[in-house]
């Protein structure tokens, strides 16, 4: 449940960097996603066409505050997004450094506190830091979105054990791996760790065939979710024969 909303598809897709609007539209359809992320930028040519396109997808919109570097910028952007999209959902990004695109944890908590108090339903882009996660939950966040790796890097889950700890530390908070995923296997891995969803953009948009890759990610996330629900076997350090010894011939 993401702020009271149940999602069948646990993949969330960004809408940037696709070769064309038509391919974006087909990729959304092929992925089966119910949530897409969208930004706010200066109104210019093509704005009306894009508004029509996102309305036609029928998806729930998760507006973001991408590009904001201060809490004040993010809060203003969130208010503008709420008016334009008519939703309290906001993917809160407060970037700490232009090169790493790592979140600024201090400004993130400050902005989250302000927005939650103002009725927003905040999806904070954070790290796997547990104390930061606690501060965000105290601020009123009911979802946390740790990064897998730096945005757009396609490195996958850089800190698997950290993400595993985070899952164990916040058993009742929906957790979404946001950013850094490069391949469907990595998205499946996040779901196998018990994460509730995966949010990505570049891995689909920059694939040779974004529509086919969107489908691959949709299936991988679904497979990972099934695997997590089915319960993975415990890992062992040594081999353990799967074929029974009983009845073995003496030759």
């Amino acid at each position: 449940m993401f702020y009271g909303v149940t999602l069948n598809s646990r993949l969330m897709l960004g809408t940037a960097q696709y070769p064309s609007p038509a391919i974006l539209q087909q990729a959304i359809a092929a992925s089966g996603v119910e949530v897409i992320t969208v930004s706010l930028r200066r109104e210019g040519r093509g704005g009306a066409d894009f508004r029509r396109l996102i309305a036609e997808t029928g998806c729930r919109i998760l507006p973001n505050t991408a590009g904001c570097h201060t809490a004040a910028e993010a809060v203003t952007t969130a208010h503008m997004a709420r008016e334009v999209f008519g939703t309290n959902w906001i993917k809160l990004e407060v970037i700490g450094h232009a090169d790493t695109l790592q979140p600024d944890p201090f400004a993130l908590v400050e902005a989250a506190r302000t927005l939650c108090a103002d009725g927003f339903e905040v999806f904070p882009y954070t790290t796997e830091d547990l104390i930061l996660g606690e501060k965000l939950v105290e601020a009123g966040c009911q979802v946390l979105m740790p990064w897998g790796a730096p945005i757009g890097s396609g490195q996958g889950l850089r800190s698997i054990e950290g993400l595993r700890s985070m899952r164990a530390h916040f058993p009742d908070i929906p957790l979404v791996v946001d950013a850094g995923i490069g391949a469907p296997s990595q998205a499946a891995q996040a779901m196998e760790l018990g994460y509730d969803a995966v949010l990505l953009n570049t891995a689909v948009a920059k694939a040779l065939d974004p529509v086919a890759m969107a489908g691959a990610f949709g299936q991988a996330v679904s497979a990972g979710q099934m695997a997590a629900e089915a319960g993975l076997m415990p890992r062992r350090d040594m081999a353990a024969a799967s074929t029974p010894i009983f009845g073995l011939a003496e030759l």
Binding site: G14, T15, A16, Q17, Y18, L24, T37, V38, S39, L40, R41, R42, E43, G44, G47, A48, F50, R51, I54, P63, N64, A66, A72, E73, T76, T77, H79, M80, A81, E83, V84, F85, I151, G152, L200, N201, T202, A205
Partner: protein
């Protein structure tokens, strides 16, 4: 009076934010506005008088990740 609209300097004929948006040809129902970094809700545009040096941002949905 001189203001900036989405980073471009101009001398507006309008006195209010609502008039300015119309003069500039924006689709007023589809955009969100901020003046000097502060959000100005749709309903407050009519009463929002422009001042010299105002930095006005007019934003709309765009591709994002």
């Amino acid at each position: 009076m001189r203001v900036e609209v989405n980073g471009e300097g101009m001398v507006p004929r309008a006195n209010t934010l609502a008039e300015l948006l119309l003069d500039c040809g924006f689709e007023t129902a589809a955009v969100a506005t901020a003046v000097n970094g502060q959000f100005v809700p749709r309903g407050a545009r009519v009463g929002h008088r422009l001042a010299d040096g105002d930095r006005i941002e007019v934003l709309s949905p765009m591709q994002g990740g």
